[in-house]
């Protein structure tokens, strides 16, 4: 060390502070735990994807249902519109006929 002269004490410290060997089972236990964590992570990912897929299916079903309802309502509205138009056409036709009859009657009276 720059600010401390090296002496016997320093050497003794250096010798005393050598790295200790790790316990024999440390690596095995570590690798086991790593495997467990990896499989837990994979499981979590699978569950996440399953939830996402389920949400997607649910959203699609709900969207489809709403779209189908909307289309059905539109069709029904169109049918009603056509019915009203047909009723108007019939009424119009009947009124025309009456008008023609009235016109022919009033022509006959004048003669």
């Amino acid at each position: 060390m720059e600010f401390e002269p090296k002496d016997d004490f320093d050497r003794e410290l250096r010798q005393a502070f050598q790295r200790q060997p790790a316990p024999p089972g440390l690596k095995r236990r570590l690798m086991d735990q790593r495997r467990r964590q990896q499989s837990a992570r994979i499981h979590q990912r699978v569950v996440l994807w399953q939830r996402l897929a389920a949400t997607l299916v649910l959203a699609c079903t709900l969207g489809g249902l709403l779209a189908w309802r909307h289309v059905r309502q539109e069709r029904r509205g169109e049918e009603l519109r056509q019915q009203v138009l047909t009723a108007f056409r019939i009424t119009n036709h009947a009124l025309d006929q009456m008008n023609r009859q009235l016109a022919s009657h009033s022509g006959g009276d004048q003669e």
């Binding site: 060390m1 720059e2 600010f3 401390e4 004490f9 003794e12 410290l13 250096r14 010798q15 005393a16 502070f17 050598q18 790295r19 200790q20 060997p21 790790a22 316990p23 440390l26 690596k27 236990r29 570590l30 690798m31 735990q33 790593r34 964590q37």
Partner: protein, 172 residues
């Protein structure tokens, strides 16, 4: 950006387990806790490996995380009211190895009585042979603070050694 280095987790464990375990053991003073810390550090390494760019980067990362996780573990124990180093003199599992001289083992035990910051600086200095600048980076502290911890720690350790080791030598 692509990198040439392809890390092999198992090989990294083989290479660095002794370093990580020793740092944790000397910081916490408890073999079981040091093992737990070492496992946590390596599992965190596994998650962070894609972000590490070289073997040297891994080494620095491991030192930094090992010191930080050891300090966290000790803090958690302190909150629960357990002080591991208090019982060290009677604890046969405390860091002392047959390979070293009894004097060295005793020195290491004396280190355990130092304040945490000084102990951390001395461990990195003498176990990992780091310079004060490198220790400052590892501990995320100013260099001046690290130098002060090293000087005070060494002074305190010398003083303790003068008292305790004389008694020890007389006892032997």
């Amino acid at each position: 950006m692509t990198r040439d280095w392809q890390p092999d987790f198992e090989q990294l464990v083989d290479e660095h387990q002794s370093m990580v375990f020793s740092l944790a053991w000397r910081m916490t003073g408890d073999r079981g806790l040091a093992e737990e810390v070492a496992q946590d550090v390596f599992l965190e390494l596994d998650r962070n490996l894609p972000r590490l760019e070289s073997p040297l980067h891994v080494l620095h990362w491991l030192r930094r995380v090992a010191m930080s996780r050891s300090a966290d573990a000790m803090r958690r124990l302190r909150v629960r009211g357990v002080d591991l180093w208090v019982e060290m003199d009677e604890d046969p599992s405390a860091p002392a190895d047959d390979r070293f001289s009894p004097l060295g083992a005793r020195l290491e035990q004396l280190l355990a009585t130092l304040p945490e910051a000084q102990r951390a600086a001395l461990i990195l200095r003498y176990q990992e042979d780091q310079s004060p600048d490198e220790i400052a980076v590892t501990l995320n502290a100013p260099v001046a603070t690290v130098k002060s911890h090293l000087q005070r720690g060494l002074k305190l350790l010398r003083a303790k050694a003068n008292t305790h080791l004389k008694e020890y030598i007389r006892g032997v």
